[in-house]
């Protein structure tokens, strides 16, 4: 599993990249009450704001971690946003994307580096 400085995790599953937010991020956000997901089939560029997460406190964005195409989104989050707090690394994945060049993930943090990053 890889991590970004935006507190996303990425996992390769059957040649697509599954993306969610870290437990640290979900704790910082507080209780999530609303999630807006991108359209499946849309093409995104790295750092595009493609999801919105609203907690009881504030709204924040999820940026596309890589260039690619969104192939599937987790609609369960729209009906049950609290999944993001309950199981951020598992059930609460946000989207799956097809990425041309998976080697671009090599530079991302591994778990140990991310733990250092969040202190």
């Amino acid at each position: 599993m890889k991590f970004t400085e935006e507190h996303e995790w990425l996992r390769i599953e059957d040649d697509v990249v599954v993306v969610g937010i870290t437990e640290h991020a979900s704790t910082q956000l507080g209780d999530v009450v609303f999630v807006e997901l991108p359209e499946a089939g849309s093409t995104v560029s790295k750092d595009d704001e493609i999801c919105v997460i609203e907690s009881v406190k504030a709204a924040s964005d999820i940026l596309a971690p890589l260039d690619g195409e969104i192939v599937e989104v987790n609609e369960a989050l729209e009906d049950n946003p609290s999944l993001v707090n309950d199981d951020p690394l598992g059930e609460a994945w946000f989207f799956k994307m097809k990425v041309e060049d998976l080697s671009s993930m090599d530079d991302m943090m591994d778990e140990a580096a991310y733990k250092d990053f969040i202190g």
Binding site: G30, D31, V33, F34, E36, V52, E54, V56, K57, A59, E78, P81, S82
Partner: protein
């Protein structure tokens, strides 16, 4: 956090793992480890304990010794009838300015020989200066510095409070009373700002830590932070000063006419005689251009403070703005309040809030969003 004040419970909040934030010049707990959502739901289901010691407590006594002189003096600053207020009761009030706007909202309790005011933390210095500037000739103004203020709110508040002060069980909404207790003299009112039954308790600083420990040791009680305090009062349709009401909003625009009793309205026994009378009576006689309303956004996206409101998906001109908005854990959806032009203020109207560039529908809704459970 330099220069920020702390309440007597600061160390306890930190010990409990609260996240402390600057609020109105104080370091206050915004949430505890339970989190905003669970704290909110706990308060509605059991009992929530709030540290509201940052609020100002002020005692007014007439120099003449006659309580009625203090009552009449304060009536000159608020459009609220205090003469008719019964002893050992309190009433919601607001200081108005000469333009008919609101300087602060407050509670006024009438006790045996004095009035006791509770004012907002963010306004208390200005409020005290305002009282001194206007009432010093007739009243002694005593700012209470040696007392803390707690609120115990929720359906279990009555039985929890009765374990400490049995006689509180007989109190009704907006009644106030003084009780001797092992924690010293307690000034208790049956009131709060959550839409729940409950109490606000003024307790000496020197015993507040013991008292808070005792209350939180009761199984029904959890400490609740400012985050859930905000969502609770929003669901209850209650105004937050500086957001939903301020120096530019008249009480009529703010839909607070209910708090201006007949005696102070045109034709009343003591009509007018408060700052901004012309504007406020003008608003009453001629109608208002905008009004505070409740909003239930469709879907789940919250419409937060500052969200611009429109009459339709493609209208060019805004009709108003959201002044408080978020997610209501008890109503299980987003709730908001704001001001809209009067033509769009009817309950049931659909209007649109622009959220991240999209116009999302919302229904103008009567408040409270969730029925209040005051013990009347």
């Amino acid at each position: 956090m330099a220069d920020l004040k702390r309440t007597g419970l600061y160390d306890l909040h930190v010990e409990l793992g609260a996240k402390m934030v600057p609020f109105a010049g104080y370091e206050m707990p915004v949430q505890y480890p339970l989190g905003v959502m669970k704290e909110h739901l706990h308060c509605r289901a059991q009992a929530g304990l709030f540290d509201v010691s940052h609020m100002g407590q002020v005692i007014l006594r007439a120099k003449s010794g006659d309580l009625n002189d203090a009552v009449l003096a304060l009536e000159a600053l608020v459009p609220v009838a205090l003469v008719e207020l019964k002893e050992n009761h309190q009433r919601y009030a607001f200081f108005t300015n000469d333009q008919g706007g609101i300087l602060d909202d407050l509670m006024v309790a009438k006790r045996e020989d004095h009035l006791c005011l509770v004012v907002n933390a963010a306004c208390k210095d200005e409020d005290i200066a305002h009282l001194r500037a206007n009432l010093s000739d007739t009243c002694d103004i005593d700012v209470i510095e040696d007392r803390a203020l707690l609120a115990l709110q929720g359906p279990a508040a009555e039985k929890v409070m009765a374990r400490f002060v049995p006689l509180t069980q007989g109190m009704r909404f907006m009644e106030v009373s003084t009780f001797e207790s092992p924690f010293g003299e307690l000034w208790i009112s049956r009131s709060g700002y959550t839409g729940e039954d409950g109490f606000e308790i003024s307790v000496p600083n020197k015993t507040v830590v013991d008292f808070a420990h005792s209350l939180m040791s009761e199984e029904e009680v959890e400490f609740i932070g400012l985050g859930a305090r905000d969502s609770l009062r929003l669901e209850a349709g209650l105004c937050l000063y500086g957001h939903d009401i301020d120096t530019t909003t008249s009480p009529i625009e703010a839909d607070l006419l209910w708090a201006i009793q007949k005696a102070r309205r045109p034709g009343g026994a003591r009509q007018g005689g408060f700052p901004g009378e012309d504007r406020i009576f003008g608003d009453l006689a001629e109608g208002i251009a905008r009004k505070r309303i409740g909003l239930r956004p469709e879907g789940r996206a919250p419409m937060r403070e500052g969200t611009v409101l429109y009459a339709s998906v493609d209208a060019d001109t805004p009709i108003g703005t959201v002044t408080s908005g978020g997610f209501g854990p008890t109503v299980e959806g987003p709730v908001a309040m704001g001001y809209v032009s009067i033509a769009h203020a009817n309950t049931g109207n659909t209007i649109y809030g622009e959220v991240r560039g999209k116009r999302l529908p919302a229904t103008v809704t009567a408040m409270p969003f969730r029925p209040s459970t005051y013990k009347r």
